[in-house]
């Protein structure tokens, strides 16, 4: 399917997507609260398991600060468009999306950005509550750690978005969203460092996680902010994150151009 990209650089259009998506989210803030509480209740089990398993001592507070930050980051950076796209493909409505005179990936990027900003407020609320329990352990290791941590969170969003966009493209081939979603969730939950810092795993598992981009979504920004990564490690992690962000962006845009041409529109 040929797409008119002549207006693909129309930033006003993308800005409009962002503001309208944000307005739509405001209408459903109650459901975001319920979802946040449900996720927090689920994640509390991770806290309880580690609370039992970790020996009491000075290492506990930094570890739980990492878990709290990881939860807030995971909630804020959550993207899940597989179900939406899967249904649009099955019902043939994807045709109307692709005919819009905007770049499809930027369109989704703006929508996901509004989600991230909106969910970010809730993530900050989580950190506020966590601070009441964990205290200074949740503060950044230094001013530089704060600045570089924020930069890393921004890069984490780019990595997360393009990973999601890549997995979403599988639906164009499978015509069903379950498989790609399950596969992405498995890789995200396993290798992002959501349930424990990657450096906790060690061995082959740590090495494998080091080769994949998923750690840059949760582990890298949290570890930089809290000072788990220091000195040259910070520069290396940020560089690796930037390279992954650029590579994923290039690959996801290229593969989308390819897979779109093989799309069969369903319905009628």
């Amino acid at each position: 399917m040929a797409v008119d990209r002549s207006r693909a650089g129309s930033w006003r259009a993308y800005g409009s997507v962002f503001t309208h998506s944000f307005s739509a989210l405001l209408a459903y803030s109650a459901s975001v609260w319920v979802n946040l509480l449900a996720m927090a209740a689920g994640f509390a089990f991770t806290f309880m398991v580690w609370h039992y398993a970790l020996p009491a001592g000075p290492a506990q507070a930094p570890f739980f600060a990492y878990l709290a930050l990881a939860f807030a980051a995971n909630f804020s950076l959550g993207v899940a468009f597989e179900r939406y796209v899967g249904e649009r493909i099955r019902e043939g409505l994807i045709a109307t999306d692709l005919l819009k005179p905007v770049d499809y990936s930027w369109f989704f990027f703006c929508q996901a950005s509004s989600d991230m900003v909106f969910q970010g407020f809730f993530g900050l609320a989580v950190l506020g509550v966590s601070f009441a329990f964990l205290g200074p352990a949740l503060l950044p290791a230094s001013g530089a750690a704060l600045g570089l941590g924020v930069l890393s969170f921004a890069l984490a969003f780019v990595v997360q978005f393009h990973l999601g966009f890549l997995f979403m493209q599988m639906i164009f081939a499978t015509h069903s969203n379950y498989g790609p979603f399950t596969l992405r969730m498995f890789m995200h939950l396993t290798f992002s460092g959501m349930f424990a810092p990657i450096d906790f795993y060690g061995g082959w598992f740590g090495a494998l996680a080091g080769w994949l981009p998923f750690r840059h979504v949760i582990y890298t920004p949290c570890a930089i902010y809290l000072g788990r990564l220091q000195g040259a490690q910070v520069g290396q992690a940020l560089l690796s994150q930037l390279v992954w962000a650029l590579v994923l962006m290039a690959v996801s845009r290229f593969s989308f151009d390819v897979i779109r041409r093989h799309l069969t529109i369903q319905g009628g």
């Binding site: 459901s31 979802n35 398993a53 499978t174 399950t182 498995f186």
Partner: protein, 261 residues
């Protein structure tokens, strides 16, 4: 009997539609097995940091617990997965047509969207359970209770999901995390309940009784609880939860107002 035949035919038919998406099936199976590997890795890290056991449970015994919970989730996904679509159907008004079918709506609805990556959870869970059971030196005769525990666990899990769906019927919106919370509660039942605080143990044994369906049977298998409890408690929990869920479902749809167009 006639209704059972209808349900069976509906299930088989929708199963065939799912088989149409073969690449999706392969990806889903890989994802489901991967999720289990992921859970095992986390468990391994937790055990490593706690000196090799949890609350007196050896790794192989926890593996049996892990396998049983994975199989329960798989059975629920294979037979009663449609409940996950409730938020979408409510928002779009797609329940109207279901409610006028000449069958009881709840079982028909639940059974008409089997999810095939469930086979990954069932197969993977069985493999972990058998291997861990062998390492733990459990008697193979003990596994004769497995079908009962699976059926009861699956019914308890589905009932909790149905209860979550009744919230969505009443308070319209995209409350998918309530469903994920149910899965999280089940998945965390793969750790011995005794590592959790007393209040959480009470929740998992009484309010959301995954503990009765998983922890109690495996405790009996490993000689920690009497067999009578392992054979009696899961059916009682399943019967109570199914009754409660069905009643809540019927109540939720009283005064149901369709949305969408």
């Amino acid at each position: 009997m006639r209704e059972l035949k209808v349900l069976w035919k509906a299930w088989i038919t929708t199963l065939q539609t799912r088989l149409e998406y073969r690449v999706d099936l392969a990806l889903g199976l890989a994802g489901a097995l991967g999720m289990q590997v992921s859970g095992l890795c986390l468990m391994w890290v937790v055990l490593t940091h706690h000196g090799g056991d949890l609350a007196g449970w050896k790794p192989a015994e926890i593996g049996v617990l892990f396998g049983l919970t994975a199989m329960i989730q798989g059975c629920s996904e294979l037979f009663f997965n449609h409940v996950w679509w409730t938020p979408t159907y409510i928002v779009r008004g797609q329940f109207d047509r279901l409610l006028v079918y000449p069958v009881r709506a709840l079982p028909f609805f639940l059974m008409t969207c089997p999810e095939l990556h469930a086979i990954g959870n069932i197969g993977g869970g069985l493999a972990v359970l058998c291997y861990s059971g062998h390492l733990a030196g459990l008697s193979p005769w003990g596994l004769l209770g497995l079908p009962l525990w699976l059926a009861c666990g699956c019914l308890v899990h589905t009932s909790v999901l149905v209860l979550a769906s009744t919230v969505v019927v009443k308070v319209k919106g995209s409350y998918n995390q309530l469903f994920w919370l149910t899965n999280t509660l089940l998945q965390n039942s793969r750790y011995p309940l005794s590592i959790y605080p007393g209040a959480v143990q009470a929740v998992l044994l009484v309010l959301v009784p995954f503990g009765l369906a998983c922890f109690v049977p495996v405790s009996a298998l490993t000689g920690r609880l009497p067999w009578a409890l392992a054979l009696g408690a899961p059916p009682v929990a399943a019967a109570i939860m199914v009754s409660l869920a069905w009643w809540a479902w019927e109540k939720a749809f009283q005064g149901y107002e369709s949305t969408g167009s």
